[in-house]
Protein backbone atom coordinates (compact mmCIF):
# COMPACT_ATOMS: atom_id res chain seq x y z
CA UNK A 1 0.00 0.00 0.00
CA UNK A 2 2.79 2.35 1.02
CA UNK A 3 4.81 1.37 -2.06
CA UNK A 4 1.86 2.24 -4.28
CA UNK A 5 1.52 5.63 -2.66
CA UNK A 6 5.19 6.32 -3.21
CA UNK A 7 4.91 5.14 -6.81
CA UNK A 8 1.90 7.36 -7.41
CA UNK A 9 3.72 10.32 -5.90
CA UNK A 10 6.75 9.75 -8.08
CA UNK A 11 4.59 9.33 -11.17
CA UNK A 12 2.75 12.60 -10.53
CA UNK A 13 6.01 14.42 -9.94
CA UNK A 14 7.49 13.03 -13.14
CA UNK A 15 4.42 13.94 -15.14
CA UNK A 16 4.47 17.47 -13.75
CA UNK A 17 8.11 17.96 -14.69
CA UNK A 18 7.45 16.53 -18.15
CA UNK A 19 4.43 18.79 -18.57
CA UNK A 20 6.46 21.81 -17.47
CA UNK A 21 8.87 21.10 -20.32
CA UNK A 22 6.42 19.89 -22.97
CA UNK A 23 3.56 22.37 -22.56
CA UNK A 24 5.56 25.39 -23.80
CA UNK A 25 6.55 23.46 -26.92
CA UNK A 26 2.92 22.45 -27.55
CA UNK A 27 1.64 25.99 -26.91
CA UNK A 28 4.25 27.41 -29.26
CA UNK A 29 3.26 24.99 -32.01
CA UNK A 30 -0.41 25.73 -31.34
CA UNK A 31 0.30 29.45 -31.62
CA UNK A 32 1.70 28.77 -35.06
CA UNK A 33 -1.68 27.61 -36.32
CA UNK A 34 -3.79 30.17 -34.45
CA UNK A 35 -5.28 32.94 -36.59
CA UNK A 36 -4.69 35.60 -33.93
CA UNK A 37 -2.65 34.66 -30.89
CA UNK A 38 -3.84 37.61 -28.82
CA UNK A 39 -7.45 36.62 -29.25
CA UNK A 40 -6.51 33.02 -28.59
CA UNK A 41 -7.69 29.78 -30.10
CA UNK A 42 -11.27 31.27 -30.49
CA UNK A 43 -9.97 33.26 -33.44
CA UNK A 44 -9.74 29.96 -35.36
CA UNK A 45 -7.02 27.69 -36.73
CA UNK A 46 -5.14 28.46 -39.90
CA UNK A 47 -2.20 27.21 -41.95
CA UNK A 48 -1.54 30.69 -43.37
CA UNK A 49 1.45 31.33 -41.06
CA UNK A 50 2.98 27.99 -41.87
CA UNK A 51 2.68 28.74 -45.58
CA UNK A 52 4.21 32.15 -45.03
CA UNK A 53 7.14 30.57 -43.21
CA UNK A 54 7.60 28.11 -46.01
CA UNK A 55 7.64 30.90 -48.60
CA UNK A 56 10.04 33.08 -46.64
CA UNK A 57 12.31 30.56 -45.04
CA UNK A 58 12.21 27.23 -46.88
CA UNK A 59 15.77 27.87 -48.11
CA UNK A 60 17.02 28.03 -44.48
CA UNK A 61 15.52 24.62 -43.80
CA UNK A 62 17.27 22.99 -46.72
CA UNK A 63 20.49 24.81 -45.92
CA UNK A 64 20.36 23.59 -42.33
CA UNK A 65 20.05 19.98 -43.43
CA UNK A 66 22.78 20.45 -46.00
CA UNK A 67 25.13 21.84 -43.35
CA UNK A 68 24.17 19.20 -40.79
CA UNK A 69 24.94 16.31 -43.15
CA UNK A 70 28.06 17.98 -44.50
CA UNK A 71 29.23 18.43 -40.89
CA UNK A 72 28.47 14.76 -40.32
CA UNK A 73 30.54 13.84 -43.38
CA UNK A 74 33.46 15.99 -42.21
CA UNK A 75 33.40 14.65 -38.64
CA UNK A 76 33.19 11.07 -39.94
CA UNK A 77 36.11 11.51 -42.31
CA UNK A 78 38.23 13.43 -39.80
CA UNK A 79 36.94 12.29 -36.42
CA UNK A 80 36.93 8.51 -36.76
CA UNK A 81 40.52 8.20 -38.04
CA UNK A 82 41.54 10.84 -35.47
CA UNK A 83 40.02 8.79 -32.65
CA UNK A 84 41.80 5.67 -33.98
CA UNK A 85 45.15 7.45 -34.11
CA UNK A 86 44.67 9.02 -30.67
CA UNK A 87 43.72 5.69 -29.12
CA UNK A 88 46.54 3.70 -30.71
CA UNK A 89 49.25 6.25 -29.90
CA UNK A 90 47.97 7.13 -26.42
CA UNK A 91 51.02 9.19 -25.48
CA UNK A 92 51.38 12.69 -24.09
CA UNK A 93 51.07 14.29 -27.53
CA UNK A 94 47.85 12.45 -28.35
CA UNK A 95 46.32 13.44 -25.02
CA UNK A 96 47.22 17.06 -25.74
CA UNK A 97 45.59 16.80 -29.17
CA UNK A 98 42.49 15.31 -27.58
CA UNK A 99 42.27 18.28 -25.21
CA UNK A 100 42.69 20.73 -28.06
CA UNK A 101 39.93 19.03 -30.04
CA UNK A 102 37.65 19.29 -27.01
CA UNK A 103 38.46 22.96 -26.38
CA UNK A 104 35.70 24.41 -28.64
CA UNK A 105 33.14 23.04 -26.17
CA UNK A 106 34.45 25.27 -23.42
CA UNK A 107 34.92 28.38 -25.58
CA UNK A 108 31.79 30.47 -26.28
CA UNK A 109 30.54 29.95 -29.82
CA UNK A 110 30.74 33.66 -30.41
CA UNK A 111 34.48 33.61 -29.73
CA UNK A 112 35.03 30.77 -32.19
CA UNK A 113 32.96 32.59 -34.79
CA UNK A 114 34.89 35.79 -34.20
CA UNK A 115 38.19 33.96 -34.64
CA UNK A 116 37.01 32.39 -37.89
CA UNK A 117 35.82 35.76 -39.19
CA UNK A 118 39.08 37.47 -38.22
CA UNK A 119 41.11 34.81 -39.95
CA UNK A 120 39.06 33.95 -43.04
CA UNK A 121 36.68 36.90 -43.27
CA UNK A 122 38.84 38.39 -45.99
CA UNK A 123 38.08 35.57 -48.41
CA UNK A 124 34.79 36.97 -49.66
CA UNK A 125 33.78 33.88 -51.59
CA UNK A 126 34.27 31.68 -48.56
CA UNK A 127 32.84 34.20 -46.08
CA UNK A 128 29.64 34.48 -48.05
CA UNK A 129 29.01 30.77 -48.65
CA UNK A 130 27.43 28.08 -46.50
CA UNK A 131 30.86 26.43 -46.31
CA UNK A 132 31.88 29.12 -43.85
CA UNK A 133 29.14 28.00 -41.48
CA UNK A 134 30.14 24.39 -42.11
CA UNK A 135 33.66 25.18 -40.93
CA UNK A 136 32.29 26.49 -37.63
CA UNK A 137 29.97 23.51 -37.21
CA UNK A 138 32.76 21.05 -37.94
CA UNK A 139 34.97 22.62 -35.26
CA UNK A 140 32.10 22.58 -32.79
CA UNK A 141 30.81 19.03 -33.44
CA UNK A 142 34.12 17.21 -34.01
CA UNK A 143 34.78 16.57 -30.27
CA UNK A 144 31.42 14.82 -29.95
CA UNK A 145 32.30 12.38 -32.73
CA UNK A 146 35.85 11.80 -31.44
CA UNK A 147 34.67 11.30 -27.84
CA UNK A 148 31.89 8.91 -28.82
CA UNK A 149 34.26 6.75 -30.86
CA UNK A 150 36.99 6.86 -28.19
CA UNK A 151 34.42 5.72 -25.62
CA UNK A 152 33.74 2.59 -27.68
CA UNK A 153 37.46 1.97 -28.23
CA UNK A 154 37.92 2.03 -24.46
CA UNK A 155 35.39 -0.81 -24.00
CA UNK A 156 36.86 -3.16 -26.63
CA UNK A 157 40.56 -3.91 -26.79
CA UNK A 158 40.94 -2.16 -30.13
CA UNK A 159 44.72 -2.00 -29.88
CA UNK A 160 45.09 -5.78 -29.70
CA UNK A 161 42.48 -6.23 -32.45
CA UNK A 162 44.57 -3.86 -34.56
CA UNK A 163 47.75 -5.79 -33.80
CA UNK A 164 45.94 -9.04 -34.57
CA UNK A 165 44.89 -7.76 -37.99
CA UNK A 166 48.41 -6.43 -38.59
CA UNK A 167 49.93 -9.82 -37.75
CA UNK A 168 47.67 -11.37 -40.40
CA UNK A 169 49.13 -9.05 -43.02
CA UNK A 170 46.67 -6.17 -43.09
CA UNK A 171 48.16 -2.73 -43.81
CA UNK A 172 46.93 0.21 -41.67
CA UNK A 173 44.20 1.34 -44.05
CA UNK A 174 42.90 -2.23 -44.47
CA UNK A 175 42.84 -2.75 -40.68
CA UNK A 176 40.95 0.50 -40.28
CA UNK A 177 38.34 -0.57 -42.82
CA UNK A 178 37.97 -4.25 -41.91
CA UNK A 179 38.37 -4.22 -38.15
CA UNK A 180 38.37 -0.77 -36.58
CA UNK A 181 35.35 0.83 -38.22
CA UNK A 182 33.01 -2.20 -37.96
CA UNK A 183 33.80 -2.59 -34.27
CA UNK A 184 33.51 1.15 -33.59
CA UNK A 185 30.05 1.27 -35.18
CA UNK A 186 28.04 1.89 -31.96
CA UNK A 187 30.24 4.90 -31.18
CA UNK A 188 30.12 6.17 -34.75
CA UNK A 189 26.31 6.01 -34.74
CA UNK A 190 26.02 7.72 -31.35
CA UNK A 191 28.47 10.40 -32.50
CA UNK A 192 26.55 10.87 -35.77
CA UNK A 193 23.32 11.43 -33.90
CA UNK A 194 25.00 14.07 -31.73
CA UNK A 195 26.63 15.83 -34.68
CA UNK A 196 23.44 16.07 -36.75
CA UNK A 197 21.25 17.28 -33.88
CA UNK A 198 23.83 19.77 -32.61
CA UNK A 199 24.42 21.15 -36.09
CA UNK A 200 20.70 21.52 -36.83
CA UNK A 201 20.05 23.43 -33.62
CA UNK A 202 23.29 25.43 -33.46
CA UNK A 203 22.66 29.17 -33.09
CA UNK A 204 25.59 30.84 -31.31
CA UNK A 205 28.26 30.31 -33.92
CA UNK A 206 25.90 30.30 -36.85
CA UNK A 207 24.36 33.64 -36.05
CA UNK A 208 27.80 35.25 -36.37
CA UNK A 209 28.95 33.23 -39.36
CA UNK A 210 25.79 33.55 -41.45
CA UNK A 211 25.02 36.26 -43.95
CA UNK A 212 21.49 37.35 -44.97
CA UNK A 213 21.85 34.92 -47.86
CA UNK A 214 23.17 31.99 -45.81
CA UNK A 215 20.75 31.86 -42.88
CA UNK A 216 20.13 28.51 -41.25
CA UNK A 217 16.93 27.38 -39.59
CA UNK A 218 17.72 28.63 -36.05
CA UNK A 219 19.02 31.94 -37.39
CA UNK A 220 15.88 32.32 -39.49
CA UNK A 221 13.85 31.58 -36.39
CA UNK A 222 15.57 34.38 -34.48
CA UNK A 223 15.03 36.63 -37.48
CA UNK A 224 11.32 35.90 -37.56
CA UNK A 225 10.94 36.38 -33.81
CA UNK A 226 12.62 39.76 -34.16
CA UNK A 227 10.81 41.03 -37.21
CA UNK A 228 7.57 39.13 -37.75
CA UNK A 229 4.34 38.43 -35.96
CA UNK A 230 4.55 36.01 -33.07
CA UNK A 231 2.33 33.60 -35.01
CA UNK A 232 4.89 33.40 -37.83
CA UNK A 233 7.73 32.65 -35.45
CA UNK A 234 5.61 30.00 -33.77
CA UNK A 235 4.73 28.49 -37.10
CA UNK A 236 8.46 28.34 -37.73
CA UNK A 237 8.91 26.33 -34.52
CA UNK A 238 6.18 23.99 -35.74
CA UNK A 239 7.98 23.50 -39.05
CA UNK A 240 11.22 22.84 -37.16
CA UNK A 241 9.59 20.13 -35.05
CA UNK A 242 7.91 18.54 -38.03
CA UNK A 243 11.24 18.35 -39.86
CA UNK A 244 13.51 17.26 -37.06
CA UNK A 245 11.51 14.82 -34.97
CA UNK A 246 11.01 12.18 -37.70
CA UNK A 247 14.71 12.49 -38.54
CA UNK A 248 15.77 11.95 -34.94
CA UNK A 249 13.43 8.99 -34.49
CA UNK A 250 14.73 7.43 -37.71
CA UNK A 251 18.33 7.85 -36.60
CA UNK A 252 17.59 6.44 -33.15
CA UNK A 253 15.93 3.37 -34.65
CA UNK A 254 18.84 2.91 -37.03
CA UNK A 255 21.40 3.31 -34.24
CA UNK A 256 19.40 1.00 -31.97
CA UNK A 257 19.16 -1.93 -34.37
CA UNK A 258 22.68 -1.71 -35.75
CA UNK A 259 24.22 -0.91 -32.39
CA UNK A 260 22.62 -3.89 -30.70
CA UNK A 261 23.69 -6.19 -33.54
CA UNK A 262 27.29 -5.20 -32.99
CA UNK A 263 26.84 -5.30 -29.23
CA UNK A 264 25.60 -8.87 -29.46
CA UNK A 265 28.63 -9.83 -31.47
CA UNK A 266 30.92 -8.80 -28.71
Amino acid sequence: MRDRAIFAGQLIFTLLVAAFLIVPALLSMLAGVTANYFRGIRSGLTLQWVLQVWELYSDTIFRSFLIAFAALAVTLVVGVPAAYALHIRNDRLSRAVEEIITLPLAIPGLAIALALILTYGGFAGFRGSWLFILAGHAVFTLPFMVRAVLAVFATIDIKTLDEGAASLGAAPWRRFRDVIVPNARPGILAGSLMVVTLSLGEFNLTWMLSTPLTKTLPVGLADSYASMRLEVASAYTLVFFVMIIPLLIAMQIFAGTRGSAVGAAR
Binding site: D157, E163, A165, S167, L168, G169, A170, D178, P182, A265
Partner: protein
Protein backbone atom coordinates in the same frame (compact mmCIF):
# COMPACT_ATOMS: atom_id res chain seq x y z
CA UNK B 1 56.25 -33.85 -40.66
CA UNK B 2 56.48 -31.00 -43.13
CA UNK B 3 58.72 -28.53 -41.41
CA UNK B 4 58.00 -25.01 -42.51
CA UNK B 5 58.84 -21.62 -41.19
CA UNK B 6 62.18 -19.92 -41.01
CA UNK B 7 65.36 -20.08 -39.02
CA UNK B 8 65.29 -17.11 -36.75
CA UNK B 9 68.23 -15.05 -35.54
CA UNK B 10 68.34 -12.10 -33.19
CA UNK B 11 71.54 -10.09 -32.95
CA UNK B 12 72.01 -7.89 -29.87
CA UNK B 13 68.35 -6.93 -29.77
CA UNK B 14 67.70 -4.71 -26.79
CA UNK B 15 64.70 -2.55 -26.09
CA UNK B 16 64.57 0.72 -24.21
CA UNK B 17 61.18 2.40 -24.12
CA UNK B 18 60.65 6.09 -24.78
CA UNK B 19 60.42 6.82 -21.06
CA UNK B 20 63.88 5.33 -20.55
CA UNK B 21 62.79 1.98 -19.13
CA UNK B 22 65.15 -0.80 -20.18
CA UNK B 23 62.75 -3.65 -20.96
CA UNK B 24 65.29 -5.92 -22.58
CA UNK B 25 69.07 -6.13 -22.41
CA UNK B 26 70.70 -6.85 -25.79
CA UNK B 27 69.95 -10.49 -26.63
CA UNK B 28 71.55 -12.67 -29.26
CA UNK B 29 69.58 -15.77 -30.02
CA UNK B 30 69.21 -18.45 -32.69
CA UNK B 31 66.09 -20.49 -33.26
CA UNK B 32 66.31 -23.38 -35.70
CA UNK B 33 63.75 -23.97 -38.44
CA UNK B 34 60.82 -25.91 -36.99
CA UNK B 35 61.97 -25.47 -33.41
CA UNK B 36 59.71 -24.41 -30.54
CA UNK B 37 61.46 -22.00 -28.19
CA UNK B 38 59.69 -21.13 -24.96
CA UNK B 39 60.40 -17.81 -23.28
CA UNK B 40 59.77 -18.45 -19.60
CA UNK B 41 59.92 -15.98 -16.78
CA UNK B 42 58.02 -13.95 -14.20
CA UNK B 43 56.01 -10.93 -15.30
CA UNK B 44 58.18 -7.97 -16.27
CA UNK B 45 61.15 -10.15 -17.26
CA UNK B 46 61.06 -8.95 -20.88
CA UNK B 47 59.68 -12.11 -22.48
CA UNK B 48 56.71 -10.37 -24.10
CA UNK B 49 58.94 -7.53 -25.29
CA UNK B 50 61.20 -10.07 -26.96
CA UNK B 51 58.20 -11.68 -28.64
CA UNK B 52 56.92 -8.32 -29.83
CA UNK B 53 60.34 -7.51 -31.29
CA UNK B 54 60.24 -10.70 -33.33
CA UNK B 55 56.66 -9.94 -34.38
CA UNK B 56 57.55 -6.43 -35.51
CA UNK B 57 55.24 -4.75 -33.00
CA UNK B 58 58.29 -3.12 -31.42
CA UNK B 59 61.57 -2.07 -33.01
CA UNK B 60 64.85 -2.96 -31.29
CA UNK B 61 67.28 -0.31 -30.08
CA UNK B 62 69.83 0.75 -32.67
CA UNK B 63 72.26 -1.94 -33.82
CA UNK B 64 69.83 -4.73 -32.92
CA UNK B 65 69.02 -6.94 -35.91
CA UNK B 66 66.34 -9.55 -36.53
CA UNK B 67 66.88 -12.08 -39.31
CA UNK B 68 64.43 -14.53 -40.86
CA UNK B 69 66.41 -17.10 -42.86
CA UNK B 70 69.37 -14.70 -42.86
CA UNK B 71 67.28 -11.90 -44.38
CA UNK B 72 67.24 -8.75 -42.26
CA UNK B 73 63.62 -7.94 -41.34
CA UNK B 74 64.38 -5.38 -38.62
CA UNK B 75 62.81 -2.54 -40.63
CA UNK B 76 59.94 -4.62 -42.05
CA UNK B 77 56.57 -3.78 -40.44
CA UNK B 78 54.57 -6.62 -38.89
CA UNK B 79 52.07 -6.81 -41.75
CA UNK B 80 54.83 -7.75 -44.18
CA UNK B 81 56.76 -10.12 -41.91
CA UNK B 82 54.41 -13.04 -42.48
CA UNK B 83 54.13 -13.99 -38.82
CA UNK B 84 51.28 -15.79 -37.10
CA UNK B 85 50.34 -14.51 -33.70
CA UNK B 86 48.15 -15.84 -30.88
CA UNK B 87 47.34 -13.26 -28.22
CA UNK B 88 46.51 -13.89 -24.59
CA UNK B 89 43.11 -12.26 -25.17
CA UNK B 90 42.92 -14.00 -28.62
CA UNK B 91 42.02 -10.70 -30.36
CA UNK B 92 39.36 -12.42 -32.48
CA UNK B 93 37.42 -9.95 -34.60
CA UNK B 94 33.91 -9.58 -33.12
CA UNK B 95 32.55 -8.36 -36.45
CA UNK B 96 33.45 -11.61 -38.23
CA UNK B 97 32.32 -15.18 -37.72
CA UNK B 98 34.68 -18.07 -37.07
CA UNK B 99 35.35 -18.86 -40.74
CA UNK B 100 35.91 -15.20 -41.61
CA UNK B 101 38.32 -14.86 -38.70
CA UNK B 102 40.33 -17.89 -39.79
CA UNK B 103 40.30 -16.84 -43.44
CA UNK B 104 41.20 -13.18 -42.87
CA UNK B 105 44.93 -13.59 -43.43
CA UNK B 106 44.28 -15.51 -46.66
CA UNK B 107 41.80 -12.89 -47.81
CA UNK B 108 44.43 -10.17 -47.27
CA UNK B 109 46.86 -12.21 -49.37
CA UNK B 110 44.31 -12.46 -52.16
CA UNK B 111 43.90 -16.24 -51.98
CA UNK B 112 41.03 -17.35 -54.27
CA UNK B 113 37.80 -18.10 -52.43
CA UNK B 114 37.67 -21.81 -53.25
CA UNK B 115 41.21 -22.32 -51.99
CA UNK B 116 40.42 -20.25 -48.92
CA UNK B 117 37.39 -22.38 -48.13
CA UNK B 118 39.39 -25.56 -48.41
CA UNK B 119 42.09 -24.23 -46.13
CA UNK B 120 39.51 -23.06 -43.54
CA UNK B 121 37.90 -26.51 -43.57
CA UNK B 122 41.31 -28.12 -43.15
CA UNK B 123 42.11 -25.91 -40.15
CA UNK B 124 38.70 -26.42 -38.55
CA UNK B 125 39.37 -30.14 -38.68
CA UNK B 126 42.94 -29.79 -37.46
CA UNK B 127 41.89 -27.79 -34.42
CA UNK B 128 38.76 -29.85 -33.78
CA UNK B 129 36.16 -27.11 -34.17
CA UNK B 130 34.26 -28.40 -37.21
CA UNK B 131 30.71 -27.12 -37.36
CA UNK B 132 31.47 -23.83 -35.66
CA UNK B 133 32.42 -21.94 -38.83
CA UNK B 134 29.28 -19.79 -38.88
CA UNK B 135 29.26 -19.03 -35.16
CA UNK B 136 29.86 -15.53 -33.96
CA UNK B 137 32.90 -15.08 -31.77
CA UNK B 138 30.83 -14.25 -28.68
CA UNK B 139 29.03 -17.57 -28.97
CA UNK B 140 32.23 -19.54 -28.39
CA UNK B 141 33.65 -20.93 -25.17
CA UNK B 142 37.14 -19.97 -24.04
CA UNK B 143 38.66 -23.17 -25.40
CA UNK B 144 36.94 -22.74 -28.74
CA UNK B 145 38.17 -19.16 -29.00
CA UNK B 146 41.68 -20.35 -28.30
CA UNK B 147 41.43 -22.88 -31.14
CA UNK B 148 40.05 -20.28 -33.54
CA UNK B 149 42.89 -17.93 -32.64
CA UNK B 150 45.40 -20.68 -33.33
CA UNK B 151 43.77 -21.69 -36.61
CA UNK B 152 43.69 -18.05 -37.70
CA UNK B 153 47.36 -17.58 -36.86
CA UNK B 154 48.59 -20.56 -38.88
CA UNK B 155 46.13 -20.26 -41.80
CA UNK B 156 48.47 -18.36 -44.09
CA UNK B 157 51.51 -20.58 -43.41
CA UNK B 158 53.47 -17.99 -41.43
CA UNK B 159 57.26 -17.90 -41.26
CA UNK B 160 57.11 -18.07 -37.49
CA UNK B 161 54.27 -18.67 -35.04
CA UNK B 162 54.29 -16.38 -32.01
CA UNK B 163 52.21 -17.32 -28.98
CA UNK B 164 51.79 -14.87 -26.10
CA UNK B 165 50.53 -16.77 -23.03
CA UNK B 166 47.83 -18.44 -25.14
CA UNK B 167 46.53 -20.69 -22.36
CA UNK B 168 46.60 -18.26 -19.45
CA UNK B 169 42.99 -17.14 -19.83
CA UNK B 170 41.66 -20.71 -19.46
CA UNK B 171 40.80 -22.71 -16.35
CA UNK B 172 43.25 -25.33 -15.11
CA UNK B 173 41.66 -28.51 -16.52
CA UNK B 174 41.11 -27.01 -19.96
CA UNK B 175 44.60 -25.54 -19.92
CA UNK B 176 46.10 -28.97 -19.42
CA UNK B 177 44.06 -30.52 -22.25
CA UNK B 178 44.77 -27.71 -24.68
CA UNK B 179 48.44 -27.88 -23.82
CA UNK B 180 48.47 -31.44 -25.12
CA UNK B 181 46.59 -30.44 -28.26
CA UNK B 182 48.86 -27.51 -28.84
CA UNK B 183 51.90 -29.73 -28.50
CA UNK B 184 50.52 -32.17 -31.06
CA UNK B 185 49.65 -29.31 -33.40
CA UNK B 186 53.09 -27.70 -33.18
CA UNK B 187 54.70 -31.08 -33.97
CA UNK B 188 52.25 -31.72 -36.85
CA UNK B 189 52.86 -28.32 -38.39
CA UNK B 190 56.58 -28.47 -37.74
CA UNK B 191 56.57 -24.71 -37.63
CA UNK B 192 59.14 -22.42 -36.02
CA UNK B 193 57.40 -21.19 -32.88
CA UNK B 194 58.12 -18.79 -30.05
CA UNK B 195 55.97 -19.41 -27.01
CA UNK B 196 55.79 -16.97 -24.10
CA UNK B 197 54.61 -18.21 -20.71
CA UNK B 198 55.16 -17.82 -16.99
CA UNK B 199 54.04 -21.41 -16.35
CA UNK B 200 57.03 -23.73 -16.02
CA UNK B 201 55.02 -26.92 -16.64
CA UNK B 202 53.74 -25.46 -19.92
CA UNK B 203 57.31 -24.57 -20.85
CA UNK B 204 58.56 -28.10 -20.06
CA UNK B 205 55.78 -29.77 -22.03
CA UNK B 206 55.98 -27.60 -25.15
CA UNK B 207 59.51 -26.37 -25.59
CA UNK B 208 62.27 -27.94 -27.63
CA UNK B 209 64.32 -25.39 -25.78
CA UNK B 210 63.49 -23.02 -22.97
CA UNK B 211 64.94 -19.57 -22.41
CA UNK B 212 64.47 -18.62 -18.77
CA UNK B 213 64.35 -14.85 -18.51
CA UNK B 214 64.85 -12.48 -15.64
CA UNK B 215 65.16 -8.68 -15.43
CA UNK B 216 65.25 -8.25 -19.21
CA UNK B 217 67.95 -10.83 -19.84
CA UNK B 218 68.14 -14.54 -20.62
CA UNK B 219 69.26 -16.28 -17.42
CA UNK B 220 69.68 -19.65 -19.08
CA UNK B 221 68.77 -21.28 -22.37
CA UNK B 222 68.66 -25.00 -22.98
CA UNK B 223 66.50 -28.09 -23.35
CA UNK B 224 63.82 -28.63 -20.68
CA UNK B 225 66.03 -31.40 -19.18
CA UNK B 226 69.06 -29.10 -19.02
CA UNK B 227 67.08 -26.37 -17.39
CA UNK B 228 65.48 -28.71 -14.88
CA UNK B 229 68.41 -30.92 -13.92
CA UNK B 230 71.29 -28.54 -14.51
CA UNK B 231 70.10 -25.03 -13.68
CA UNK B 232 72.83 -22.46 -14.03
CA UNK B 233 71.67 -20.29 -11.16
CA UNK B 234 69.59 -20.29 -8.03
CA UNK B 235 66.94 -18.21 -9.82
CA UNK B 236 66.52 -20.79 -12.60
CA UNK B 237 66.54 -23.68 -10.11
CA UNK B 238 63.79 -22.12 -8.02
CA UNK B 239 61.71 -20.85 -10.94
CA UNK B 240 61.60 -24.19 -12.72
CA UNK B 241 60.03 -26.73 -10.39
CA UNK B 242 60.51 -27.17 -6.65
CA UNK B 243 64.08 -27.01 -5.40
CA UNK B 244 65.93 -27.27 -2.09
CA UNK B 245 68.79 -24.83 -1.96
CA UNK B 246 71.29 -25.63 0.78
CA UNK B 247 74.39 -23.75 1.76
CA UNK B 248 77.18 -26.01 3.03
CA UNK B 249 80.85 -26.42 3.67
CA UNK B 250 82.42 -28.47 0.87
CA UNK B 251 85.54 -30.47 1.50
CA UNK B 252 87.03 -33.48 -0.29
CA UNK B 253 84.00 -34.13 -2.47
CA UNK B 254 81.45 -34.03 0.34
CA UNK B 255 79.12 -31.45 1.85
CA UNK B 256 79.07 -31.07 5.59
CA UNK B 257 75.61 -30.28 6.94
CA UNK B 258 73.95 -30.30 10.36
CA UNK B 259 72.26 -33.63 9.46
CA UNK B 260 75.45 -35.35 8.28
CA UNK B 261 77.46 -35.41 5.06
CA UNK B 262 76.47 -35.67 1.42
CA UNK B 263 78.79 -36.84 -1.32
CA UNK B 264 78.81 -34.74 -4.47
CA UNK B 265 80.19 -35.48 -7.92
CA UNK B 266 81.90 -32.29 -8.93
CA UNK B 267 82.87 -31.03 -5.52
CA UNK B 268 86.49 -30.41 -6.19
CA UNK B 269 86.26 -26.91 -4.85
CA UNK B 270 86.54 -26.24 -1.17
CA UNK B 271 84.72 -23.70 0.95
CA UNK B 272 81.10 -22.61 1.22
CA UNK B 273 78.98 -23.81 -1.73
CA UNK B 274 75.34 -23.56 -2.77
CA UNK B 275 73.73 -26.89 -3.70
CA UNK B 276 70.39 -27.61 -5.34
CA UNK B 277 68.50 -30.83 -4.66
CA UNK B 278 65.11 -31.61 -6.24
CA UNK B 279 62.55 -33.00 -3.73
CA UNK B 280 61.92 -36.10 -5.89
CA UNK B 281 65.60 -37.07 -6.05
CA UNK B 282 65.77 -37.66 -2.31
CA UNK B 283 65.10 -41.21 -1.07
CA UNK B 284 63.88 -41.98 2.42
CA UNK B 285 65.95 -44.68 4.19
CA UNK B 286 66.25 -45.92 7.76
CA UNK B 287 67.69 -43.31 10.08
CA UNK B 288 70.09 -45.79 11.71
CA UNK B 289 73.37 -45.81 9.85
CA UNK B 290 72.33 -43.10 7.40
CA UNK B 291 75.00 -40.58 6.48
CA UNK B 292 72.43 -37.84 6.32
CA UNK B 293 69.31 -37.64 8.50
CA UNK B 294 66.63 -35.32 9.84
CA UNK B 295 63.35 -35.04 11.67
CA UNK B 296 59.98 -35.01 9.85
CA UNK B 297 58.31 -31.68 10.60
CA UNK B 298 55.10 -32.15 8.64
CA UNK B 299 53.66 -34.38 5.94
CA UNK B 300 51.15 -33.13 3.37
CA UNK B 301 49.15 -35.19 0.93
CA UNK B 302 49.51 -33.88 -2.65
CA UNK B 303 47.62 -36.57 -4.57
CA UNK B 304 50.14 -38.69 -6.42
CA UNK B 305 52.66 -38.54 -3.56
CA UNK B 306 53.25 -37.11 -0.11
CA UNK B 307 55.46 -34.14 0.51
CA UNK B 308 57.46 -34.07 3.76
CA UNK B 309 59.25 -31.16 5.34
CA UNK B 310 62.40 -32.38 7.08
CA UNK B 311 64.18 -30.21 9.62
CA UNK B 312 67.56 -30.60 11.25
CA UNK B 313 69.21 -31.93 8.09
CA UNK B 314 70.24 -28.55 6.74
CA UNK B 315 69.98 -24.97 7.97
CA UNK B 316 66.54 -24.61 6.40
CA UNK B 317 63.92 -27.40 6.29
CA UNK B 318 64.31 -29.70 3.28
CA UNK B 319 61.34 -30.67 1.12
CA UNK B 320 61.20 -34.38 0.23
CA UNK B 321 58.76 -36.13 -2.12
CA UNK B 322 57.89 -39.54 -0.69
CA UNK B 323 55.78 -42.31 -2.29
CA UNK B 324 52.64 -43.36 -0.44
CA UNK B 325 54.17 -46.79 0.19
CA UNK B 326 56.38 -45.33 2.92
CA UNK B 327 54.35 -44.46 6.04
CA UNK B 328 55.50 -41.17 7.49
CA UNK B 329 54.29 -38.95 10.25
CA UNK B 330 55.50 -35.80 11.92
CA UNK B 331 58.19 -36.50 14.51
CA UNK B 332 59.68 -39.50 12.67
CA UNK B 333 63.43 -39.51 12.35
CA UNK B 334 64.44 -40.52 8.82
CA UNK B 335 67.59 -40.96 6.80
CA UNK B 336 67.89 -39.24 3.43
CA UNK B 337 69.84 -40.85 0.61
CA UNK B 338 70.70 -38.67 -2.37
CA UNK B 339 72.47 -39.75 -5.55
CA UNK B 340 75.59 -37.55 -5.78
CA UNK B 341 74.76 -36.88 -9.46
CA UNK B 342 71.43 -35.34 -8.42
CA UNK B 343 73.11 -32.66 -6.34
CA UNK B 344 73.80 -29.60 -8.43
CA UNK B 345 76.30 -27.05 -7.21
CA UNK B 346 75.31 -23.50 -8.08
CA UNK B 347 77.30 -20.31 -8.29
CA UNK B 348 76.88 -18.43 -5.05
CA UNK B 349 76.17 -14.97 -6.47
CA UNK B 350 72.84 -13.85 -7.86
CA UNK B 351 70.56 -15.46 -5.32
Amino acid sequence: MRAHGVALRLESCGKTFADGTRALEPVTLDVARGETLVLLGPSGCGKTTLLRLIAGLETPDTCGRILFNNADVTAVPIERRNVGMVFQSYALFPNMNVAENIGYGLKIRGTPESERKARIAELLALTGIEGLEHRRVDQLSGGQRQRVALARAVAAQPSVLLLDEPLTALDAALRERLRGELNRLLRTLGITAIYVTHDQSEAMALGDRIAVMRNGAIAQIGTPRDIYFAPASRFVAEFVGAANIVEAQCKAGALTLPGGTLRVVNGAESGIVLAMIRPESINVVAADGAAFAGLVDSVSFVGDRQRALVSGAAKNPITVDVPHSIPLKAGDRIGLAIDPAAIRLLPREGA
